[in-house]
């Protein structure tokens, strides 16, 4: 039991930090520009595929730097040539644009790389057990993932809260024309914010690619969870997204690790009942309902606290 708790906590924190790396980019873009980027998970997928391809060509470490930059460039192009022109039609049009983009990116990726999983491996330099917990070897790569996520998070927070750049970025949100009069190019600020947000997603893709599976439906699998995270944490709240990411990471990992069902606790039902919704619910294991837990959480938080955990705005 202790083994299960320790391992699951470690994995849960790890998955939670990865979720946070993704949702931080999404939250920053949302709170700065009001754009809910539906294609954020697609940028994450692009990061994984660029990472895979560049790793094959030039090795993992250059890919770790180059792939996020490439994804960031794609993001900036999307902002410059897509979102900026759509802005006049309102936020729903922007959301629809990113929705179409997510669809198109998934198709382009499966067109170029195919639909089967990529052979994206952990780099040899990190392919060793870091430490052993309860006779389970804990891979060094997972520690590396954790460190990268934490470093990026701290850097992001410091940049936004403590530096001049952060000051300008935050001011550009509330008083764009004033910032413009002070001689800053507001359009470029937005473009860079969107680029940085996308690059963060790309970075998450590069480091998560070898650990999770790199294939063309990975965006569709993760995308909805990201929205759960930012709604659950409160729209536009970075600390809220942090708590929500860790919580969802932990809940999902623990649920997957647990194999209990109502039947295993209270004993099986009378077999003469035959298949019915009741026997389904009775026999389903916690591991099986792991994928729906985030959405249950979402519905609950919306009923009892519609603004999310740390959100301040109703809408």
């Amino acid at each position: 039991m202790a083994e299960l708790i320790v391992i699951s906590t470690l994995n849960g924190v790890l998955f939670g930090m990865l979720l946070f790396l993704l949702s931080s980019g999404l939250t920053v873009i949302f709170s700065m520009m009001g754009v809910l980027n539906f294609a954020h998970a697609s940028f994450y997928m692009l990061g994984a595929f660029f990472g895979y391809q560049l790793t094959r060509w030039i090795g993992f470490w250059p890919a770790l730097v180059l792939a996020p930059l490439l994804v960031g460039a794609v993001g900036m192009a999307v902002e410059r040539y897509g979102l900026r022109n759509t802005h006049k039609h309102g936020h729903v049009a922007e959301l629809l644009l990113t929705f179409g983009l997510a669809f198109a990116i998934e198709e382009i990726v499966s067109m170029i790389w195919g639909k089967s999983p990529m052979d994206y491996r952990i780099p040899a330099a990190l392919d060793f057990p870091a430490f052993t917990v309860f006779s389970t070897n804990y891979p060094a790569y997972k520690i590396f993932m954790l460190v990268v996520s934490v470093v990026i998070f701290v850097a992001l927070l410091i940049t936004l809260k403590r530096t001049r750049v952060g000051l300008i970025v935050q001011a550009a949100l509330t008083h764009p024309s004033m910032v413009g009069h002070l001689g800053h190019n507001v359009g470029r600020v937005f473009m860079l914010v969107f680029g940085v947000g996308s690059a963060l997603a790309g970075l998450a893709g590069v480091i998560a690619g070898p650990s999770l599976v790199t294939q063309s439906d990975m965006a569709a699998l993760l995308g909805p969870i990201l929205f759960v995270v930012i709604v659950f944490g409160g729209l536009g709240s970075l600390p809220g997204a942090f708590i929500a990411s860790l919580l969802i990471g932990l809940i999902q990992t623990f649920a997957v690790a647990l194999n209990g069902s109502l039947a295993s606790v209270f004993g099986p039902l009378d077999p003469s009942l035959g298949p019915s919704p009741l026997t389904d619910i009775w026999n389903v294991t916690i591991a099986q309902i792991a994928p729906i837990l985030p959405y249950v959480l979402l519905v609950l938080v919306l009923i009892f606290r519609p603004m999310g955990l740390l959100g301040t705005r109703e809408s």
Binding site: A93, L96, E107, M111, I112, I292, V299
Partner: protein
């Protein structure tokens, strides 16, 4: 001003004389639904018509949310799918217990299934509009879609639940075995649902929905609760989506978890938006186009969904009114008689635009053949000319068409815009408002 008055009144006179035209449109539509299978009687076209009919109801029900109430839903397929599942279960029950329920009533049961679910979840979902609603609908959609794989006895797991539509009590001697009879059943429900949904837009509720879409605060000031209005709209949309789901269950004699999924929700969003959400007939056009593309393109190309995505992005960026919006923009010009001044610029722009489109298609197909589908041979047949995906000439041709087409097309588009402005100004001066 004075000059503008008299033609305006002439225009309104023509408008009021349109009652005949109004009923005429519905009669023509009904006649077309009856006559179409007699003209195109092959099995393939009957199947297509049936699918298009279902898509029309589904897209129109979606537009109650998106177009009329301003709610962007990413989970509309939930009501559609649940309507389908309920229909299948009821059909099986009717067949095994010999209940006197004939098949044509089944879509109504699907509608009730959609309505019940919308009533259950709608109150929480419609508390807020905008992006928040969009995400909640996505979450609920995912919740139901993933739960459907757990509750195997209800949803049949991966394989779904089958039924037999001919096992139900027959009506007027119709067995509903042949596709033609199913088509007429669908056509009947298309007509009923379309009229009902159109009538809904004319009711005070429909009007207040538009007001909630445009300015919820003012609606509150005049004494209506926007939340209640959105909830009602959501229930109506759920009801009609359930009807579409019930018809799908009848058409395929199966319901599976794919009916509930994100792809289905995405396609109905595409259909409604590409067709145009601002006009009632927009989603109908969209449903026809999207279903036709789905059926037609799958035979021609492996990456048809990419074309979908590109068309959708193009519409969002350049024509947010959709196809209906583009068509309706021409109405004042036709009335003012200035359309002919625009057409030459269209013709000029058509050539480089066509080159650009061919360039895009050639690029996509070349990349698709070059990378993924190795086994399928790499010759692309585009407008009768064969291209070899691995040949450098093909790559060059694609690049020339793409870049050259874009550069020339951009100039011609500017001319179209100028001709448009002139024609629209004249039309406005003559009193035909755009």
């Amino acid at each position: 001003m004075i000059k503008a008055v008299s033609p305006t009144s002439a225009a309104t006179k023509r408008e009021s004389g349109g009652a005949l035209g109004f009923y005429g449109v519905w009669l023509i539509a009904a006649a077309a639904l009856v006559v179409l299978p007699l003209i195109f009687s092959s099995g393939g076209s009957l199947t297509s018509f049936s699918l298009i009919g279902i898509a029309i109801i589904f897209a129109l029900s979606y537009n109650i949310l998106l177009g009329q109430t301003g709610l962007l839903s990413f989970g509309h397929a939930v009501q559609y799918g649940l309507g389908g599942f309920l229909s299948v279960h009821v059909m099986n029950a009717v067949a095994s217990y010999d209940w006197p329920i004939p098949l044509p009533v089944i879509p109504l049961i699907g509608g009730i299934g959609g309505l019940v679910f919308a009533t259950l979840v709608g109150w929480v979902m419609t508390k807020r509009a905008g992006t928040v609603f969009a995400m909640i609908s996505l979450g609920i959609g995912e919740l139901v879609a993933s739960s459907s794989l757990i509750l195997r006895s209800v949803f049949g797991g991966e394989s779904g639940i089958t039924t037999d539509r001919t096992a139900l009590p027959h009506m007027f001697g119709w067995t509903f075995g042949p596709q033609l009879q199913v088509y007429y059943l669908i056509a009947f429900w298309v007509m009923i649902s379309a009229i009902a949904m159109y009538a809904l837009t004319r009711t005070p509720l429909g009007r207040i929905c538009n007001a909630v879409r445009d300015n919820p605060e003012r609606v509150q000031f005049i004494g209506y609760d926007p939340h209640v209005v959105r909830y009602l709209a959501y229930m109506f949309a759920g009801f009609f989506a359930g009807i579409a789901g019930g018809l799908t269950a009848i058409n395929f004699e199966i319901a599976n978890s794919a009916y509930l999924g994100a792809t289905q929700s995405g396609i109905v969003l595409f259909a409604a938006f590409i067709g145009g959400t601002a006009y009632f007939f927009g989603p109908i056009l969209g449903a026809i186009l999207v279903t036709y593309l789905q059926l037609g393109l799958t035979n021609v190309t492996t990456v048809w969904q990419l074309y979908f995505g590109i068309i959708f992005i193009g519409i969002v960026m350049f024509a947010p009114g959709g196809i209906a919006g583009i068509l309706m923009k021409h109405r004042p010009l036709i009335r003012a008689g200035t359309l002919r001044t625009v057409i030459p610029s269209y013709l000029v722009a058509a050539i480089p635009t066509l080159a650009l489109v061919l360039g895009i298609i050639l690029t996509i197909e070349t990349v698709a053949r070059y990378t993924a589908s190795e086994g399928e041979g790499n010759t692309i047949n585009l407008v009768g000319i064969p291209f070899v995906a691995t040949a450098p000439t093909t790559w060059a041709a694609a690049a020339v068409l793409l870049v050259g087409g874009f550069l020339v097309a951009r100039i011609t588009w500017r001319r179209v815009a100028e001709a448009w402005d002139r024609a629209a100004t004249v039309a406005r001066d003559r009193g035909y408002l755009a």
